[in-house]
Structures are given as structure tokens and as C-alpha cells.
């Protein structure tokens, strides 16, 4: 780990403090509330493990950055540090799962999903091992660390794998719900997390069903289907558009695979247009998954919004979200232009 990244990791120690120091600028209307951007990963797993002896946790030299060290503090005998060897970690987790354990293995999404893709498919999904691969710092949330540390392809790469549940955590409360629902979920999972600064969407831990989208706001002119880090921006955009008299439905499509076809079909039937928003390459992710459903339906205005199919520029995260129009003002503008083009 570079010194710079070590500093980054240190920032995440006691993340409410970190959140104060690195205030997220993406959400204009939805200012993060105190404590919400914190990574609750290790803490929640530690709590679950008190009553579930199957749960073990592993990381690849990023225990402080992803807060799995909070688990290690409580359950050191069930915590495994693999060093910088992600492939070995993921496959070893499959071996553990074959012995009755439920391993949660966490590292940056760029390494968990992209470096570990074959291990996820061949050793976790194919033999239906209950391994939970957790990709933190997904999308371009690593900002100026550059494309080696971004994961803008992970959803596209993993949603095509059979017997793999792919789910994006929206915020801290949603992550708690995902983790709680994961313990007895059959087969392998990929859980995509942001950087731990994700603005709040859920005031409390939501009721969650894998593969069942959450309709956060109803509307009739447009449906914005968003996932993970973009749900807050979608809600804020809906609020801004409402001021113009535009009625927007907002869906948190947390599970990318299997996708909630029913909710997409309802949006196509009941609202005038569909816009997908994701912190992911425009090719292959949420938008493409939604398009796979829409292709079977009567045509309606549809736009995929995400990161263009090229490696993004260097810059702080907030600057990147601004440039690629993935913050609330950006999503609002994209939605306005999209609707105007239909007029």
C-alpha cells in the first residue's frame, strides 16, 4: 500500500470524523446527516457474527480502509488477513464455504470484481458457494487515484454470471439491510459499495428483498431507475424537476442480477419515459440490464446515463461527478434534456 493510500486508510478510521473532513459535495439538497456516510461493514458483520457462527471475514490488506478491522476487533479468531492476494482470498473463501462457513471477503471493487472475476465465477458462482465478495470504493469514487483503482466495469462483468447475485448498497442503512439479508441467501453474492461517504437515502434500515426494487417516489412523467451511489442524486433530481411541474418516479434498483423485471415493466407501462443512472460504464451495467427488459416491450423514450465508454480523467471525486454529470445537478440537467428531446 502506498503512503498516500495508507493516509487514505487512516482517514477512514472513525469515519464520522473522516466524513467531516471530506464532506461530500455531490448532493446539493440532500446534505449527509451526521454519522451516515460511515462504513458500517465491519460493525454490522461483527454484530451478525455474535449469533451466527458461520460468519467469517477476510480482507486483502485493506482492513482499515473497508472497516473490516471493526470485525477483527470483536472476532479476531474469525478474521483472516490475506495480504495483497485477492485471487487467493476469494478462492480460499470458496474453500471455507465448502466447509459450512459464510465468508465475507472485502477489498476495493477494482480488485475484488475485476481482478477476481474468474475466481468469483469459477470458485464461487459455479459451485454455488455462499461467498459474499464485497467491492468497496466502487465506480470512480477513488477519484484521482486513477482508473487502476476505479471499478466502472464490475456490474457488467458480473451480472452475466449465472448463479451470482449482484447487489449495490445505497447507503449505510441499506448496507445493513443487505448484509442481514445475505446471511442465509443461497449461492454467491457480489455486494457493491461506495467509498463510505455515500449520502443518506434511508432514515432507518429498510425492509429488503433481494431482487425486489424499492420505489422511493412515485411519478408519472418519467421514471429514474438508479442504483447505489446514484439513488440520492436521482431523488434530488426528482425534487428539482417537481418544481418545474415534472412528475418523476424514482426506483432504487439495488439488485442488478437478478433484475426486478416487474418493476421495470410497471415503469414502462405507467410512466412516460425511463432514465437509468449509474456510476458505471454506460455499457453493460444497470442501463443495459434495464434495456434487456425494455427490448421485449412496446417502445418508449429511454436513456442510459452513466460514465462514457472511456477511462475517466484524473480529479477529486466531486469534480468527476460534476464533469460526468452524475451529481444531483448533473442528473437533473440530463433528465431535462432527455424530456425536452421528446417534446
Amino acid at each position: 500500500m502506498s503512503t498516500e493510500m495508507q493516509n487514505e486508510a487512516e482517514i477512514f478510521r472513525g469515519t464520522t470524523e473522516g466524513a467531516t473532513r471530506f464532506k461530500d459535495h455531490r448532493s446539493v439538497q440532500g446534505t449527509p446527516k451526521k454519522g451516515m456516510p460511515a462504513f458500517v461493514l465491519g460493525e454490522e458483520l461483527a454484530e451478525m457474527a455474535k449469533t451466527d457462527p458461520r460468519i467469517v471475514v477476510a480482507t486483502a490488506d485493506l482492513a482499515s480502509a473497508n472497516r473490516t478491522n471493526d470485525f477483527n476487533d470483536i472476532h479476531p479468531e474469525r478474521f483472516f488477513e490475506f495480504g495483497i492476494a485477492e485471487k487467493n482470498m476469494i478462492t480460499a473463501a470458496a474453500g471455507m464455504a465448502a466447509c459450512g462457513l459464510v465468508p465475507y471477503v472485502a477489498t476495493f471493487a477494482s480488485f475484488a470484481a475485476i481482478l477476481g472475476a474468474e475466481q468469483i465465477r469459477t470458485d464461487c458462482a459455479y459451485p454455488k458457494m455462499p461467498v459474499r465478495v464485497i467491492g468497496t470504493h466502487s465506480g470512480m469514487s477513488m477519484g484521482f487515484y486513477g482508473s487502476s483503482h476505479h471499478a466502472l466495469e464490475d456490474l457488467g462483468m458480473l451480472r452475466v454470471m449465472a448463479d451470482l447475485t449482484v447487489i449495490c448498497a445505497t447507503d449505510a442503512n441499506h448496507l445493513r439491510a443487505v448484509l442481514r439479508a445475505s446471511a442465509d441467501h443461497p449461492g454467491a453474492m457480489y455486494i457493491r459499495l461506495g467509498r463510505g461517504r455515500d449520502p443518506q437515502v434511508y432514515d432507518t434500515v429498510p425492509a429488503l428483498e433481494m431482487g425486489k426494487a424499492i420505489r422511493l417516489r412515485d411519478g408519472s412523467d418519467l421514471t429514474i431507475i438508479a442504483t447505489g451511489s446514484e439513488v440520492r442524486a436521482a431523488l434530488d433530481a426528482a425534487e428539482a424537476l417537481a418544481a418545474d411541474g415534472i412528475s418523476v418516479r424514482v426506483i432504487d434498483m439495488h439488485t442488478i442480477s437478478p433484475l426486478d423485471r416487474t418493476e421495470v415493466e410497471a415503469a414502462a407501462r405507467e410512466t412516460g419515459a425511463i432514465l437509468t443512472v449509474e456510476e458505471h460504464n454506460i455499457t453493460g451495467g444497470l442501463g443495459s440490464a434495464v434495456a434487456d427488459v425494455l427490448v421485449d416491450l412496446p417502445r418508449l423514450p429511454f436513456l442510459k446515463h452513466g460514465v462514457p465508454d472511456r477511462y475517466v480523467e484524473v480529479g477529486p471525486p466531486a469534480a468527476l461527478y460534476d464533469k460526468y454529470r452524475l451529481d444531483a445537478p448533473g442528473v437533473t440537467a440530463v433528465a431535462r434534456e432527455f424530456l425536452a428531446a421528446q417534446a
Binding site: 467469517v56 479468531e77 474469525r78 483472516f80 490475506f82 495480504g83 492476494a85 485471487k87 487467493n88 478462492t91 480460499a92 473463501a93 470458496a94 474453500g95 471455507m96 464455504a97 465448502a98 466447509c99 459450512g100 462457513l101 465468508p103 474468474e118 475466481q119 469459477t122 470458485d123 459455479y126 459451485p127 454455488k128
Partner: protein, 288 residues
């Protein structure tokens, strides 16, 4: 089924022959198969399953059983007959080998093969699987061993060395590498393709206890097994078995032409007769 109580070298020799003849028979069903990679590990597999491992075929999920990972998954054709012979499944099922809908493909699927501890096929993964099983066992207070059979070409995969480092670090004394050092990979001699020698010293340098024995000499194979220490903590254990790819069929021994093949007609009968006669002294082709 052969019972452990009456196992002796003659029995193991016979079971090694059985592994080879079944490999030839099943390959004919499939129309192509990995003869030579299976022949090189026939004595190791026979000794492991019929004399060494703590298993209970009537209870394939017994938590305290020893585990075996066939990391060189292309040798599964030699493992299926052993599992059937031990009673994990009806030997008649072997006749479906590779046919549409069969449970038994060229590379083994743990969800379909009773008694198989993990799926394999993509080289380089098996040692990590075994590492996870060994970690789980120690955490759960179980003293089973985990054996992982690696091909010598396979250890060019980087993930193997991630696991080799980790096993030394975690002091997994109950994790055992069985290296089938048969000298050939698909494109040629391993030392020409990607050299691995001195392989025993390489494992030792990563904190493993290493033995190196003749993998076709059953007393040597069993001797290496008997020398494995008890307990779940300590240096991980590697046994480098010097073997001959294609051993047992003269035309296949150290031949690059038989990694995948199919014997038909008289060739099939000739090879079966050669195998029935038992292993003859190995005579390497003189260097050209």
C-alpha cells in the same frame, strides 16, 4: 469396494491398474480424453484413496473427513472410477461419461459428483481451495487433512504461489501438496516451457516441509504419506512425486502426442493388454 483392512501393495498396484484401464475405457466413450496426465498419478491416487485418506463413502459430507482437491482437474477421469469403486455412486453411472446430461465431464463438478470435495478445471485454483478448507477446519477444531494434487505445468499459475505463501504464513500443517511432477505440459517439457526446478527447494523456501519420492513406487508413495506429521499447526507439507507422463503405456510415456487422445480398434485392445500386464520397467527414449 476395496476395504482398507485388507490393503497391501498388491491391492494398491491392482487399483492403479484399474485407474488406468478405466481411463482408457471412459476415453473411448467420450471420444477423447486425458490419458497421460492420469496415468502419471495413478499410483498416487490409488494409495491416497485406498490406504491413506480418512473417508467414509457412505457419508460424503462427514465434517471430519479428509479432503482431496484434484486441482489438475483434467485427471478427473481417473478419479471418477475410484469414487464409484469406493461406493460413492453406482459404477454404472460411469458409462454416461461426457454424454449429454451426464454428471461426469472432463473436468469435475462438485454439485454433480458424489464424493467430490470441490470442482476444478481452471488450473491454479485448487491450492487456494485447500487453503480455505484447512483454515476452516482448524477454526472449527477439526483435525482433517486437506490434500491438493497439482500438476507441474499448473504451478506456473501465480495464484498457486499466493496460496503457497499464505499456507506457510498460516502454518497449515494439515495442508498437503501432492505435486505430480510428470515433466510435460501440453506444449513440451516443463523445463523448456517454463522451468520450475529445483521445485522442492522452491517450496522449502516458502516455509514448507518437502519430500521428493518416486511417484510410481508404491512403498515410496506410502512412505511419504506415513511421514506426514499429525496436527493442524506447523509447516505445510509438500510431496513432490517424480512421475512419468503416460506411465504404463509405452507409446504414451513422455510423449507430447498423448496429452489428449483417443485409442480405437486394435490400438485400444493392445493398450488394454499392455495395462493388464502391469507396469514394466521404464526405459526413457535415448536422447536424439
Amino acid at each position: 469396494m476395496t476395504h482398507r483392512s485388507n490393503v497391501n501393495y498388491a491391492v494398491l498396484e491392482d487399483r492403479a491398474k484399474f485407474i488406468r484401464t478405466e481411463t482408457v475405457r471412459l476415453t473411448r466413450i467420450a471420444g477423447a480424453g486425458h490419458y497421460s496426465s492420469t496415468f502419471s498419478c495413478a499410483e498416487i491416487l490409488a494409495a491416497l484413496y485406498y490406504a491413506q485418506m480418512r473417508i467414509e463413502p457412505s457419508d460424503p459430507h462427514w465434517p471430519d473427513r479428509d479432503r482431496f482437491i484434484m486441482s489438475k482437474g483434467h485427471a478427473a477421469i481417473g478419479l471418477y472410477p475410484v469414487l464409484a469403486d469406493l461406493g460413492y455412486f453406482d459404477p454404472c453411472e460411469l458409462d454416461t461419461y461426457t454424454k449429454l446430461g451426464s454428471n461426469y465431464g472432463d473436468h469435475p463438478d462438485m454439485k454433480k459428483v458424489r464424493g467430490l470435495d470441490f470442482s476444478s478445471g481452471s488450473l491454479g485454483h485448487g491450492l487456494s481451495v485447500g487453503l480455505g478448507m484447512a483454515l476452516a477446519g482448524r477454526m472449527q477444531g477439526r483435525d482433517y487433512r486437506t490434500y491438493v494434487m497439482l500438476g507441474d505445468g499448473e504451478i506456473s499459475e501465480g495464484q498457486i504461489w499466493e496460496a503457497v505463501i499464505a499456507a506457510g504464513h498460516f502454518q497449515l500443517g494439515h495442508l498437503v501438496i501432492l505435486l505430480d511432477r510428470n515433466g510435460l505440459s501440453i506444449d513440451g517439457h516443463t523445463e523448456d516451457i517454463m522451468g520450475i526446478e529445483p521445485v522442492h527447494e522452491r517450496f522449502a523456501a516458502f516455509g514448507w516441509d518437502v519430500q521428493r519420492v518416486d511417484g510410481h513406487d508404491l512403498p515410496s508413495v506410502m512412505g511419504a504419506f506415513k511421514a506426514l506429521p499429525e496436527g493442524t499447526t506447523g509447516k505445510p507439507q509438500a510431496i513432490v512425486f517424480d512421475t512419468v507422463k503416460g506411465r504404463g503405456v509405452k507409446r504414451m510415456e513422455m510423449s507430447l502426442d498423448w496429452h489428449v487422445g483417443n485409442l480405437v480398434g486394435e490400438d485400444y485392445d493392445d493398450v488394454m493388454a499392455e495395462l493388464e500386464a502391469g507396469l514394466q520397467p521404464y526405459e526413457p527414449e535415448p536422447a536424439e
